[in-house]
Assembly symmetry: C2
Homo-oligomer: 183 residues x 2
Amino acid sequence: MIKGNLDKAFTYLESGAVLLVCVSEGKKDNVMTVSWQMVLDFTPLIAICSGSWNESFEAILRTKQCCLCVPAADMIEKAVGIGTIHGSQCDKFKHFNLKKQKPAKVKAPLIGGCLAAIECKLTDYIEPYGILVLKGVQLWENPLKKERRIIHANGDGTFFADGEFYNLREKMRERLPEGVERL
Amino acid sequence: MIKGNLDKAFTYLESGAVLLVCVSEGKKDNVMTVSWQMVLDFTPLIAICSGSWNESFEAILRTKQCCLCVPAADMIEKAVGIGTIHGSQCDKFKHFNLKKQKPAKVKAPLIGGCLAAIECKLTDYIEPYGILVLKGVQLWENPLKKERRIIHANGDGTFFADGEFYNLREKMRERLPEGVERL
């Protein structure tokens, strides 16, 4: 992955991408799968919703940082596997053969095979709802990756990849930030 | 649309559906398009993020209720149109030929042609982020509608409809609530 323009980071999330959320506590790295996520603004501020049943959730509260990685459709089996195994059971990066890449601004690994990754700092915790408020500080993109389709979870154990594409930019021109076309 | 099991409501949202959010203040009905939305739990509690530039956002704060309607891919032009016209300019229901249907538990219209609709009560407002916390109180489903694909916004004026389908229920069985298969 190569560094990208942070202004575009929200375009990898807004459609409801399943995310692999990476954390690091010294020697121990971990990753969880999250589909309860929402863009809060274009800077970007990002909300993810999880709870203490996820070891990685607690790690974000302790370390105040994480990386949001956006897997493509070729990684759906891994994304589901990561979401069903507890971090205490194994080193998920080894178990799922995830290629780590060094981050630039936070201490938490990126997953090199993803479509994109956003390094984030924790800026707030809305405890009653388990909402972590994250500020994106660095975007990484993978322009050479052939599989471009993002994965979406229905929440019932089924998923869809991106299908038919619609370009309605001209109709929405006045409401869009400039220069944010998703790769 | 016919009444559905509220336990399944979140399965229409989790994948990142573009939503048409309907409100009513006495004689005046309005609707806005929202793609910044997130499931918070299975009851379901739902977060949407918007701001006072949307007349309908202010109407939800005043009336404490709304309906979240889930358009399918055949409604993408209407969804974008609704998101680019201000409610003060016209009656959007007439302008976009939206067929209103009576709700059961809140005062806000449903849009009959959608895939699903969730009647909601406002339970909290997280003001610093423009997050409305909504509690779903009634699900409506449209099982006879032929177009089943949900729409996802990338945020840059482009959209995807649901594409390739993956069923990974067996792998995720332990983590899923029971009986929530999305239609």
